[in-house]
Symmetry: C2
Subunit: 330 residues, 2 copies
């Protein structure tokens, strides 16, 4: 099996993140390096805390519909709670805005509160200031003590699963860049997947007793599984043909669609590992939640995350997508 690097090459800003990582958590049960931190609360539950910052031009297009931005700013944090198996409770909102546009603000708040209310998550504090558009949300949830889904719990032989379908958000980013250069508008189905990710909170809660490790797919499936593999000190083999590719990519070349599904990111689905004996229960859970859950691979001894074709032969990424290693020689 070929191994892609255990995580994608670290960007400079991920290196900064490491700059603030002072090693194992002291007071917290789990600190930097998972989807969220765990703080002991009472004998029976822990508090789960996560934070994200979205910057205009980097995390969203400048012309994003403000209701979608309000939705997404909270959704990415709720997705982190989902990946921990937590129930959301509350969030804080800090916003820098270049000016006051009441129509824009009303729409932003509408998108934000619609998602918050759907999940019983209350805005409990905030700060607003003038500055380049920037949104930072900290979400707080709870999980029964010892039940949080972590990145470091995968075991050899576990199945690897992912929820939903992948690749559409990344395709929307690609097309969005082309729109900026005068291309056709991004199809609505793709834009919807980028702008309105649905945090998989019900799934995360149900997985507390079924999964051995979990993460949300924000950086890209392989990169995020790489975080699980690295933390669990294990390897994974992913079967390309089992990876669920969003139906909105049906017209795209297969290799490009697979590349987007494996590496694109912004999907906010849950990727998780689970013992083989839980296959049936997880299948039933998917039906109950009306959410496809795909078994896409296996946890193995070793390190790194590899992708194989239907014959078990290794695939590797190139500019056009995932292809056989020796593709250039064909």
């Amino acid at each position: 099996m070929n191994r892609t690097p255990p995580t994608r090459a670290l960007g400079e800003f991920e290196l900064i993140g490491r700059f603030f990582d002072r090693g194992p958590a002291r007071r917290a049960a789990l600190g930097i390096g998972d989807d969220a931190a765990l703080l002991p609360a009472s004998a029976d539950h822990e508090r789960v805390v996560t934070t994200d910052m979205l910057v205009a031009g980097r995390h969203f297009f400048d012309d994003v519909e403000p209701a979608s931005l309000g939705h997404k700013a909270l959704a990415v944090n709720l997705s982190d709670l989902a990946a921990m198996g937590a129930s959301p409770e509350a969030f804080t909102l800090a916003v820098a805005l270049p000016g006051v546009d009441e129509t824009w603000l009303a729409a932003f708040a509408r998108g934000l509160f619609a998602l918050a209310d759907a999940h019983g998550c209350e805005l409990v504090g905030g700060d607003t200031t003038r500055g380049p558009l920037c949104i930072s949300i900290t979400a707080i949830g709870r999980v029964p003590t010892g039940c949080a889904l972590r990145r470091d719990g995968a075991q050899p032989g576990d199945d690897v699963w992912v929820s939903g379908a992948l690749g559409a958000a990344a395709a929307a980013v690609l097309l969005g860049d082309r729109v900026a250069s005068g291309g056709a508008p991004t199809p609505g189905a793709l834009a919807e997947r980028l702008d309105r990710p649905q945090p998989r909170l019900a799934l995360g809660i149900e997985l507390r007793h079924l999964a051995s490790a979990a993460i949300d797919v924000s950086d890209g499936l392989l990169a995020d599984l790489g975080h699980v593999a690295e933390r669990s000190r294990l390897a994974m083999r992913i079967e390309a043909g089992a990876v669920p590719i969003d139906g909105a990519l049906a017209d795209w070349p297969d290799a490009e669609a697979l590349r987007l599904a494996l590496t694109g990111g912004d999907d906010y689905e849950l990727a998780f590992t689970a013992p083989v004996e839980n296959r049936h229960a997880i299948g039933a859970l998917g039906s109950r939640l009306s959410l496809p859950l795909s078994r896409i691979g296996t946890v193995l001894p070793g390190d790194g995350v590899g992708v194989v074709d239907s014959h078990g032969l290794p695939l590797a990424p190139d500019r056009r997508g995932f292809d056989h290693f020796a593709a250039d020689e064909h």
Copy 2:
């Protein structure tokens, strides 16, 4: 007694904050509108959550020493915890940076962690991204259930107190603006008060059983007392001669120094109200903490916060400072 408005005129960004205020907290014990939110944790304590966002050019000068910025970004949040009587536990950090400057980052982290370690507050999560310099910290603390200091607890007849000395940070902002226009450097004592505020955490904890209401002085003493008066549905009378003015302002005209102390902001001292019978205990507390605690006024029925001179005659602010109402006619 003359009354200045119960709060300073609302800036547009405070109006935005109100845009997100949906009324009384539902799940939280205390939501938007106090220094921090309260979330029930266990039978014996509550979690306290607060968030702030600092933007370059607005909350700090572009050339601020990065260690001071790291200190201040956390200090303003810890000050909110202090105003609630909370013990700090953990914080998250979200940072947008225009680029990676390792020397700058090392200094920023040094200032941040020095203050965090001094108060046993652990960094448990974060997000780093590229963007215009912007720092958002969410701090989490705990307080015994029912003991949090709130803004709405002042009672008629209570004394009004403030810790430390006021006005130096605002003077540093004034001089900083002049430096930008080619003026002399800001004296170190003033810059220190602006850049290195000391959150009054030990005081806040001790005040849990002595104070009836508390707030930290960030917007300016009168504005912040105005928040307490408004929330408590009461008025306050402040004696100008009792307001502690920072010694670094000794060379400034009296009226201007008083204006800065009353309205300048950025002091991060605690202003609080307390029953008259606690005067002796509060005096002793100040000695024990080596922190001056000044009794500056009285809580009264009514609304608004007024300032009086030593004869009980009302003072009002003008451009040069606080002066008698009819000053223009002299």
